[in-house]
């Protein structure tokens, strides 16, 4: 395997650092290298934006409403517990 100069991050490596970057867990120097790569690479900048969007969309998942039948079942479950706690 060809060793790359330490300062240059290639895209294939950069995409593996995205989560550490977003989690704030990259050491300072690694973060600088990552940001330097982004500054010169529109594709990886786009990739990072897509990862942020992925997280955002996932966070928009709202639970579906319980059906009336489910609701009744849980009220029933609650009352059974209340009347016979153990």
């Amino acid at each position: 395997m060809r060793l790359l100069p330490r300062r240059d991050l290639v895209c294939r490596q950069a995409v593996e650092l995205v989560t550490d970057y977003l989690e704030g867990s990259l050491p300072r120097r690694a973060r600088k290298r990552f940001e330097a790569h982004l500054a010169s690479c529109p594709h990886c900048t786009q990739y990072l934006a897509q990862m942020r969007e992925t997280i955002r969309l996932t966070g928009r998942l709202e639970p579906e409403d319980l059906t009336p039948q489910q609701r009744d079942e849980f009220v029933e479950l609650y009352r059974r517990w209340r009347d016979q706690p153990d």
Binding site: C11, V18, T19, H43, Q50, M51, L61, L66, P85
Partner: protein, 197 residues
């Protein structure tokens, strides 16, 4: 939306509507999480029901050292793990799995087949209210352990510390699973939405 803490207060004073509200809030996610541990839907439903009973029984002893939802998910994971299971906590994270198909990079490691635009298409679908079902389906395509971490972190918005505690995994494993899960989900979104205008 009423905060979990207020629901907890009402629940402790014996308000059954507070219980139903809590179920409404977490049932679907709990079911989804349970499904990633046990062999089938029926078993998952039992695990979730047992979790709700355990919550009710444990109310008096709950000291609020963790948030209500972290406690709830911890009970669930413990119930699921004792119920027979597809996996065990000691299983190591499997071999490296690249965030992006290596074929999309050239020999020097630069993008040869760069990420395609899909954010706008997804936003459009979101606004039209047509995204949720597809999102659920895509989430189900993630491998179980990645799905668990993504669900807890990105849907239920637990912190990384809380996720480590609920799943009993190390911070390093948590981050690797989160990275693979999110990366895979990004690719699924790209596959789903590219070229949709």
């Amino acid at each position: 939306m009423e905060a979990d803490g207020e629901l907890l207060l009402r629940l402790r004073s014996g308000d059954e509507r507070a219980f139903v509200s809590l179920v409404q809030r977490y049932q679907e996610q709990m079911l989804r999480l349970a499904t990633s541990f046990v062999p089938n839907q029926a078993v998952a439903e039992e695990v979730v029901q047992d979790t709700w009973l355990a919550l009710l029984r444990g109310l008096d002893g709950f000291e609020e050292r963790s948030s209500l939802k972290t406690w709830l998910f911890s009970i669930l994971v413990n119930q699921a793990r004792t119920t027979g299971t597809r996996e065990h906590r000691s299983v190591p994270v499997p071999d490296p799995e690249p965030a992006v198909d290596p074929a999309r990079f050239d020999a020097g490691g630069s993008w040869a087949d760069p990420p395609e635009q899909w954010v706008e298409a997804a936003e459009g679908r979101l606004e039209a209210g047509k995204l949720a079902d597809r999102l659920r389906a895509l989430m189900d395509e993630l491998p179980a352990r990645q799905r668990q971490v993504v669900l807890l972190r990105d849907v239920d918005e637990l912190s990384s510390e809380e996720v480590c505690s609920v799943l009993a995994i190390s911070d390093g494993n948590q981050r690797v699973l989160l990275h693979r899960g999110r990366s895979r989900l990004r690719q699924l979104f790209e596959d789903e939405f590219r070229g949709v205008r």
